[in-house]
Amino acid sequence: MESQETIAKKPTILSDRYQTGWKEKVSEIFSRYGIFIIFLGMVTLMSFLTPYFFNVLNLINVVRQVSFIGIVAMGVTFVIITKGIDLSSGSVIALISVVAADFAHPGEHSLFVPLAIGVGVGALTGLINGTITAKGMIPPFIATLGMMTAARGLALLYSDGRPIGNLSDSFLFIGAGEILGIPFPIIVFLVVGIISHLLLSNTKFGKYTYAIGGNEQAARICGINVDRHLILVYTYAGLLTAIAGLMLTARISVGQPSMGVMYELDAIAAAVIGGTSLTGGIGTIPGTMIGALIIGVLNNGLDLLNVSSYWQQILKGAIIVTAVLIDSRKNKKS
């Protein structure tokens, strides 16, 4: 996980440690766990500001709301670490939503069919994104912008612009169901989080991801098959987008071609707030999960406080920029 960071930071941190005392240690802890501290601070603040925040029902609501964007954001984190970007997630969610819904009517197919088709479509869009970026040498911003536009068009075309309802109970379970009182999306969020974290921090796949983002040229020279790896990273992002899209469709009980507008930006924001650097090479899955939770707590808290939606947008914008500012200062220091 820290291959990139530790290589860059270790010398300074070590010498600091010998020269100065506790202040530096505290500051190091803060720069490493800062986002978590900010998160706890927000939770504390919200608990104080409104009596409705810190109750079980509401907290479950917050985490469930966050699960969907959180899962998308984890895939996006991989992409951003390779110095890429994925603007297509929101539109791909819409495409998956209508296609899967079409196969999820009661009494037609088993649950496996819409799930497999949804995941397949998601992975395919990721595969296309990755191939265009890697083999076509087209900047990911443009490649995924194209996918963003085309996938939305496909979603509208497939559904004839209409929502697709009448979904089977077993399908609805993945968005609205609970296991032992815990909403199913939350369980998936945690499982995907653990898998993604292990993948990024404990495997060769993860090391390559950091290496490409840190220095693509060097990665190539070291013998990493950069093209193939980029394609895999975008495919993984598409796959996670599919999981989120399927659960969202079940949550609102209908496949919608208009679903997910601007979700890509929420996902990118979650990753960036969580410490993923848009310049590549830096980022963690727990950071992104906390980033998503911060957005969720903010949305929920501001709604509970009855803050006008105009102010909510301004505040959210300010918080995203502040997070990046802190991040860029941190990077400069190291």
Binding site: K23, E24, V26, S27, F30, I37, G41, T44, L45, S47, F48, T50, P51, Y52, N55, L57, N58, N61, Q65, F68, L156, S159, G161, R162, P163, G165, A176, L248, R251, I252, S253, V254, Q256, P257, S258, M259, V261, N299, N300, D303, L304, N306, S309, Y310
Partner: protein, 329 residues
Amino acid sequence: MKAQKIFSWLMISVLMIGLLSGCGVSQSSNARGKDHKIVIGAAMPVFDDKWLTYLYDAINDYDAKHGNVEVQMVDAKNDSVKQLTQVETLVVKGVDAIIITPVDTSAVEPMVDAAKKANIPVIVVNRMPTQDVLDKVDAYVGSESIQSGTMQMEKVAKLLGGKGNVAIMTGELGSESQVKRTEGNKDVIKKHPDMKVVREGTAKYQRAEAIQLMENWIQSGDKIDAVVANNDEMAIGAINALKSAGKLDDTLVAGIDGTTDALKYVQSGDLDVSVFQDPVKQGQGAIETAVKLAKGQKLDNKMVWVPYELITKENVEKYVKKWKEYNNN
């Protein structure tokens, strides 16, 4: 500098712990005020919509005029998922009734379920859900979306004498109003064998887009006898393009909404048909019904109808007057 930063963080933590300890006290006094105020949650689809603004104003106006009623209105920004989230939050807050104007009527059921699970009355306004959802809600205020499309096209069919080529200009693809209004249009055309749809395209409810689209249609050389638009803004765009091409006299133009702008075009004879839906009546109906239900009173009728009204040159002055009244309030 670093020491300063650490110090400020320590201060913040101390403050927060202090605040937290005071939390228990504030909680009990906040949750329910001494004099019991009726709190109505209003989950609205999008604030950035001129017509709906009048509906919102009518709801908020009730709050301003009644000291014992508080309205908490939230904006879903045209996102069903966000709207569901907001309804869940209103449920957590324990409001006394929830008014919903759905982003998408086919996605409203989970919202209704969330509220009913907590025994909170639900009033759906303006966009009518399917029968099985209507069975669950406490009231519906408004009309049937599809009727605006049928009413509009029926008048156009009459003016055309039951035959001719029609171009349908649709709104934002996939939006509730686009789907229903277009469906209404086509239902009527099916009944007239001599009428057919020669063109169908979206101008996303925007005047500027409509000008472009209409220009392209004119360029294509097809004979178009009537342009039927999902809203007035696009109808006005089409009028502009037809005017510059010198073809407005041979073409009927119809819109929906009856906006103040559109009424001017009806007065001048450029816009032949529009359909009016009364936002203020719907807003008032919604909040009055919500307050009744919050007080535990019974409704005479679960369906509170506010029907569409057809606007043509003959009756346009009535609506000009109406908007003047609404804008003065």
